[in-house]
Protein backbone atom coordinates (compact mmCIF):
# COMPACT_ATOMS: atom_id res chain seq x y z
CA UNK A 1 0.00 0.00 0.00
CA UNK A 2 1.50 3.35 -0.96
CA UNK A 3 1.34 6.33 1.40
CA UNK A 4 -1.09 8.00 -0.95
CA UNK A 5 -3.46 5.00 -0.86
CA UNK A 6 -3.18 4.71 2.92
CA UNK A 7 -4.18 8.34 3.43
CA UNK A 8 -7.09 8.25 1.03
CA UNK A 9 -10.30 9.00 2.82
CA UNK A 10 -12.98 6.33 2.68
CA UNK A 11 -16.57 7.15 1.86
CA UNK A 12 -17.55 5.95 5.33
CA UNK A 13 -15.22 8.39 7.06
CA UNK A 14 -16.37 11.14 4.69
CA UNK A 15 -20.05 10.68 5.52
CA UNK A 16 -19.31 10.29 9.24
CA UNK A 17 -17.20 13.46 9.32
CA UNK A 18 -20.39 15.56 9.25
CA UNK A 19 -21.17 14.12 12.71
CA UNK A 20 -18.78 16.00 14.99
CA UNK A 21 -15.81 15.38 12.75
CA UNK A 22 -13.65 17.30 10.32
CA UNK A 23 -16.74 18.57 8.46
CA UNK A 24 -19.17 18.98 11.36
CA UNK A 25 -22.50 20.16 10.05
CA UNK A 26 -25.38 19.69 12.45
CA UNK A 27 -27.92 19.77 9.61
CA UNK A 28 -26.35 16.64 8.16
CA UNK A 29 -25.14 14.75 11.21
CA UNK A 30 -27.81 12.13 10.45
CA UNK A 31 -25.44 10.81 7.74
CA UNK A 32 -23.52 9.04 10.50
CA UNK A 33 -26.63 6.91 11.13
CA UNK A 34 -26.96 5.81 7.49
CA UNK A 35 -25.17 2.80 6.00
CA UNK A 36 -22.86 3.67 3.14
CA UNK A 37 -25.20 2.58 0.37
CA UNK A 38 -27.99 4.77 1.71
CA UNK A 39 -25.68 7.74 2.26
CA UNK A 40 -24.57 7.27 -1.36
CA UNK A 41 -28.19 7.46 -2.49
CA UNK A 42 -28.71 10.55 -0.35
CA UNK A 43 -25.84 12.45 -1.96
CA UNK A 44 -26.89 11.45 -5.47
CA UNK A 45 -30.44 12.59 -4.79
CA UNK A 46 -29.31 15.81 -3.16
CA UNK A 47 -27.22 16.77 -6.17
CA UNK A 48 -30.12 15.92 -8.47
CA UNK A 49 -32.44 18.16 -6.46
CA UNK A 50 -29.90 20.99 -6.41
CA UNK A 51 -29.54 20.70 -10.17
CA UNK A 52 -33.28 20.87 -10.61
CA UNK A 53 -33.34 23.99 -8.43
CA UNK A 54 -30.98 25.87 -10.79
CA UNK A 55 -33.68 27.21 -13.04
CA UNK A 56 -36.57 27.58 -10.65
CA UNK A 57 -37.41 29.91 -7.81
CA UNK A 58 -38.89 27.15 -5.68
CA UNK A 59 -36.38 25.34 -3.49
CA UNK A 60 -38.97 23.62 -1.32
CA UNK A 61 -38.28 20.23 -2.95
CA UNK A 62 -34.68 20.43 -1.70
CA UNK A 63 -35.90 21.02 1.85
CA UNK A 64 -38.48 18.23 1.54
CA UNK A 65 -35.77 15.86 0.31
CA UNK A 66 -33.50 16.63 3.27
CA UNK A 67 -36.39 16.19 5.72
CA UNK A 68 -37.14 12.79 4.15
CA UNK A 69 -33.57 11.69 4.79
CA UNK A 70 -33.41 13.16 8.29
CA UNK A 71 -36.40 10.95 9.06
CA UNK A 72 -34.63 7.89 7.60
CA UNK A 73 -31.47 8.72 9.55
CA UNK A 74 -33.29 8.83 12.87
CA UNK A 75 -35.64 5.93 12.29
CA UNK A 76 -34.14 3.78 15.01
CA UNK A 77 -35.13 3.42 18.64
CA UNK A 78 -32.74 5.22 20.97
CA UNK A 79 -32.81 6.29 24.57
CA UNK A 80 -35.12 5.15 27.30
CA UNK A 81 -37.81 2.63 26.32
CA UNK A 82 -41.11 2.23 28.15
CA UNK A 83 -43.97 -0.13 27.40
CA UNK A 84 -46.51 2.37 28.64
CA UNK A 85 -46.34 5.92 29.89
CA UNK A 86 -48.38 8.07 32.25
CA UNK A 87 -51.33 10.01 30.90
CA UNK A 88 -53.10 12.90 32.59
CA UNK A 89 -56.23 14.30 30.97
CA UNK A 90 -56.64 18.06 30.75
CA UNK A 91 -58.98 19.19 33.52
CA UNK A 92 -60.40 22.22 31.73
CA UNK A 93 -60.31 23.76 28.26
CA UNK A 94 -57.03 25.29 27.07
CA UNK A 95 -58.87 28.64 26.88
CA UNK A 96 -59.16 28.50 30.68
CA UNK A 97 -55.80 26.90 31.43
CA UNK A 98 -52.49 28.17 32.73
CA UNK A 99 -50.03 26.93 30.12
CA UNK A 100 -46.29 26.54 30.59
CA UNK A 101 -43.55 26.13 28.00
CA UNK A 102 -40.37 24.07 28.28
CA UNK A 103 -37.94 23.49 25.42
CA UNK A 104 -34.56 21.84 25.00
CA UNK A 105 -33.53 24.58 22.58
CA UNK A 106 -30.67 26.06 24.63
CA UNK A 107 -32.09 29.60 24.89
CA UNK A 108 -31.20 31.96 27.70
CA UNK A 109 -31.45 35.65 28.46
CA UNK A 110 -28.38 37.69 27.57
CA UNK A 111 -26.55 38.47 30.79
CA UNK A 112 -27.81 35.26 32.40
CA UNK A 113 -25.55 32.80 30.64
CA UNK A 114 -25.67 29.44 32.47
CA UNK A 115 -21.93 29.15 31.70
CA UNK A 116 -21.96 25.44 30.85
CA UNK A 117 -18.88 23.40 31.76
CA UNK A 118 -17.75 26.43 33.79
CA UNK A 119 -16.92 28.43 30.65
CA UNK A 120 -17.81 32.11 30.44
CA UNK A 121 -19.17 33.35 27.11
CA UNK A 122 -18.90 29.96 25.42
CA UNK A 123 -19.30 30.26 21.67
CA UNK A 124 -21.56 28.05 19.58
CA UNK A 125 -18.44 26.58 17.96
CA UNK A 126 -17.04 25.54 21.32
CA UNK A 127 -20.40 24.07 22.36
CA UNK A 128 -20.41 21.98 19.18
CA UNK A 129 -16.79 20.88 19.61
CA UNK A 130 -17.46 19.89 23.23
CA UNK A 131 -20.83 18.21 22.76
CA UNK A 132 -19.52 14.96 24.26
CA UNK A 133 -18.58 16.87 27.43
CA UNK A 134 -22.13 18.24 27.52
CA UNK A 135 -23.49 14.69 27.27
CA UNK A 136 -21.84 13.86 30.59
CA UNK A 137 -23.12 16.94 32.40
CA UNK A 138 -26.26 17.75 34.31
CA UNK A 139 -28.39 20.24 32.34
CA UNK A 140 -29.16 23.73 33.64
CA UNK A 141 -32.56 25.33 33.40
CA UNK A 142 -32.82 28.88 32.06
CA UNK A 143 -35.85 31.02 32.94
CA UNK A 144 -37.04 33.39 30.24
CA UNK A 145 -39.71 36.04 30.91
CA UNK A 146 -42.43 36.02 28.26
CA UNK A 147 -42.04 39.76 27.65
CA UNK A 148 -38.33 39.44 26.88
CA UNK A 149 -37.18 41.95 24.23
CA UNK A 150 -36.06 39.82 21.26
CA UNK A 151 -32.61 41.41 21.27
CA UNK A 152 -31.98 39.93 24.71
CA UNK A 153 -32.68 36.37 23.60
CA UNK A 154 -29.61 34.22 23.11
CA UNK A 155 -29.21 30.60 22.05
CA UNK A 156 -26.32 28.15 22.17
CA UNK A 157 -26.56 24.39 21.74
CA UNK A 158 -23.95 22.00 20.43
CA UNK A 159 -26.50 19.37 19.38
CA UNK A 160 -28.40 21.04 16.57
CA UNK A 161 -28.04 23.75 13.96
CA UNK A 162 -29.15 26.89 15.81
CA UNK A 163 -29.44 29.10 12.69
CA UNK A 164 -33.24 28.81 12.65
CA UNK A 165 -33.47 29.57 16.38
CA UNK A 166 -31.21 32.59 15.96
CA UNK A 167 -33.26 33.97 13.08
CA UNK A 168 -36.55 33.47 14.88
CA UNK A 169 -36.73 31.97 18.35
CA UNK A 170 -40.36 31.02 17.72
CA UNK A 171 -39.11 28.12 15.58
CA UNK A 172 -38.12 26.35 18.78
CA UNK A 173 -39.38 28.56 21.64
CA UNK A 174 -42.74 29.89 20.42
CA UNK A 175 -43.30 32.62 23.02
CA UNK A 176 -44.66 35.19 20.59
CA UNK A 177 -47.11 32.77 18.93
CA UNK A 178 -48.37 31.66 22.35
CA UNK A 179 -48.78 35.26 23.51
CA UNK A 180 -50.82 36.05 20.43
CA UNK A 181 -53.10 33.10 21.12
CA UNK A 182 -53.35 34.17 24.76
CA UNK A 183 -54.45 37.67 23.69
CA UNK A 184 -57.08 36.15 21.44
CA UNK A 185 -58.42 34.08 24.33
CA UNK A 186 -57.38 30.71 22.92
CA UNK A 187 -55.12 30.15 25.96
CA UNK A 188 -56.18 31.08 29.50
CA UNK A 189 -52.71 32.28 30.48
CA UNK A 190 -49.18 31.78 29.23
CA UNK A 191 -47.21 31.45 32.44
CA UNK A 192 -44.05 33.51 32.80
CA UNK A 193 -41.25 32.59 32.84
CA UNK A 194 -40.89 29.89 30.22
CA UNK A 195 -37.98 27.48 30.42
CA UNK A 196 -35.19 26.24 28.19
CA UNK A 197 -32.20 23.96 28.59
CA UNK A 198 -29.60 22.27 26.43
CA UNK A 199 -31.02 18.88 25.52
CA UNK A 200 -27.56 17.51 24.77
CA UNK A 201 -26.89 16.50 28.39
CA UNK A 202 -26.59 13.43 30.58
CA UNK A 203 -29.96 11.75 30.08
CA UNK A 204 -29.41 9.59 33.15
CA UNK A 205 -28.82 12.60 35.37
CA UNK A 206 -31.75 14.38 33.79
CA UNK A 207 -34.00 11.47 34.63
CA UNK A 208 -32.76 10.69 38.13
CA UNK A 209 -31.48 13.98 39.56
CA UNK A 210 -32.29 17.08 37.59
CA UNK A 211 -35.75 16.12 36.39
CA UNK A 212 -37.22 15.55 39.87
CA UNK A 213 -35.84 18.93 41.02
CA UNK A 214 -37.36 20.67 38.00
CA UNK A 215 -40.68 18.93 38.56
CA UNK A 216 -40.80 20.28 42.12
CA UNK A 217 -40.07 23.78 40.77
CA UNK A 218 -42.72 23.52 38.07
CA UNK A 219 -45.34 22.21 40.50
CA UNK A 220 -45.05 25.49 42.43
CA UNK A 221 -46.28 27.34 39.35
CA UNK A 222 -49.66 25.60 39.31
CA UNK A 223 -49.63 24.84 35.62
CA UNK A 224 -52.73 23.28 34.15
CA UNK A 225 -50.69 21.98 31.22
CA UNK A 226 -47.31 22.29 29.55
CA UNK A 227 -46.12 22.51 25.98
CA UNK A 228 -42.84 20.65 25.53
CA UNK A 229 -40.57 21.20 22.56
CA UNK A 230 -37.66 18.77 22.22
CA UNK A 231 -35.18 20.15 19.70
Amino acid sequence: MTEETANKETFESFKNSFFYGSRTNLNFKFLEHLPEDEADLFFQGLLKHLGEAYDGADYSHVTAYIIEWQIKGYDKPKGFAYETGPFQALAKPVAESRLGLLTSSGHFVKGEDPEPLGVKNMTQDEATRRVFDFLKEEPQLSSIPIDIPPELMHVRHGGYDICGSERDFNSTLPIQRLRELEKEGAIGELVSPVYSFVGACSQKRLLTKTGPRWIALLQEQNFDAMLLVPV
Binding site: K78, G85, F87, G164, R167, D168, S171, M226, V229, P230
Partner: protein
Protein backbone atom coordinates in the same frame (compact mmCIF):
# COMPACT_ATOMS: atom_id res chain seq x y z
CA UNK B 1 -42.64 12.77 34.72
CA UNK B 2 -44.87 15.84 34.57
CA UNK B 3 -47.92 13.67 33.97
CA UNK B 4 -47.02 11.65 37.08
CA UNK B 5 -47.58 14.76 39.18
CA UNK B 6 -50.82 15.66 37.41
CA UNK B 7 -49.60 18.10 34.74
CA UNK B 8 -50.83 17.15 31.24
CA UNK B 9 -48.28 17.73 28.48
CA UNK B 10 -48.18 17.96 24.73
CA UNK B 11 -44.97 17.60 22.74
CA UNK B 12 -44.24 19.27 19.41
CA UNK B 13 -41.35 17.62 17.61
CA UNK B 14 -40.10 17.02 14.08
CA UNK B 15 -41.13 13.78 12.39
CA UNK B 16 -37.54 12.54 12.58
CA UNK B 17 -38.14 12.01 16.32
CA UNK B 18 -41.16 9.76 15.77
CA UNK B 19 -39.45 6.47 16.61
CA UNK B 20 -37.81 7.84 19.75
CA UNK B 21 -41.07 9.29 21.04
CA UNK B 22 -42.90 6.04 20.30
CA UNK B 23 -40.24 4.11 22.21
CA UNK B 24 -40.63 6.43 25.18
CA UNK B 25 -44.45 6.03 25.18
CA UNK B 26 -44.97 9.78 25.55
CA UNK B 27 -48.51 10.94 26.40
CA UNK B 28 -49.24 13.13 23.34
CA UNK B 29 -47.08 14.41 20.51
CA UNK B 30 -47.64 16.43 17.38
CA UNK B 31 -45.10 15.53 14.71
CA UNK B 32 -44.27 18.28 12.26
CA UNK B 33 -42.90 17.83 8.72
CA UNK B 34 -40.09 20.30 9.30
CA UNK B 35 -36.31 20.35 9.21
CA UNK B 36 -34.61 19.35 12.43
CA UNK B 37 -33.98 22.40 14.59
CA UNK B 38 -37.25 24.03 13.50
CA UNK B 39 -40.03 21.95 15.09
CA UNK B 40 -42.57 24.78 15.33
CA UNK B 41 -41.96 25.98 11.80
CA UNK B 42 -39.73 27.94 9.48
CA UNK B 43 -38.13 31.07 10.94
CA UNK B 44 -40.35 34.05 10.16
CA UNK B 45 -43.29 31.94 9.01
CA UNK B 46 -45.73 33.23 11.56
CA UNK B 47 -48.78 31.59 10.02
CA UNK B 48 -47.21 28.14 9.89
CA UNK B 49 -45.97 28.43 13.48
CA UNK B 50 -49.40 29.53 14.61
CA UNK B 51 -51.14 26.59 12.95
CA UNK B 52 -48.69 24.17 14.59
CA UNK B 53 -49.36 25.63 18.05
CA UNK B 54 -53.11 25.54 17.48
CA UNK B 55 -52.91 21.88 16.43
CA UNK B 56 -50.84 21.06 19.50
CA UNK B 57 -53.34 22.74 21.83
CA UNK B 58 -56.18 20.88 20.17
CA UNK B 59 -54.31 17.61 20.72
CA UNK B 60 -53.85 18.56 24.37
CA UNK B 61 -57.61 18.83 24.72
CA UNK B 62 -58.71 15.89 22.61
CA UNK B 63 -56.24 13.04 23.28
CA UNK B 64 -57.91 10.45 25.47
CA UNK B 65 -55.05 8.01 25.98
CA UNK B 66 -51.29 7.93 26.25
CA UNK B 67 -49.12 7.30 23.21
CA UNK B 68 -51.22 9.57 20.99
CA UNK B 69 -48.89 10.66 18.19
CA UNK B 70 -50.37 12.55 15.27
CA UNK B 71 -48.89 14.13 12.18
CA UNK B 72 -49.34 17.84 11.65
CA UNK B 73 -50.94 18.66 8.34
CA UNK B 74 -51.06 22.27 7.17
Amino acid sequence: MLEDVGIPTVIVAVQAFRRRLETMSVPRALLTPHLMGRPIGRPGDREQQRMVIQAALKLLETADQGGTLIDFKA
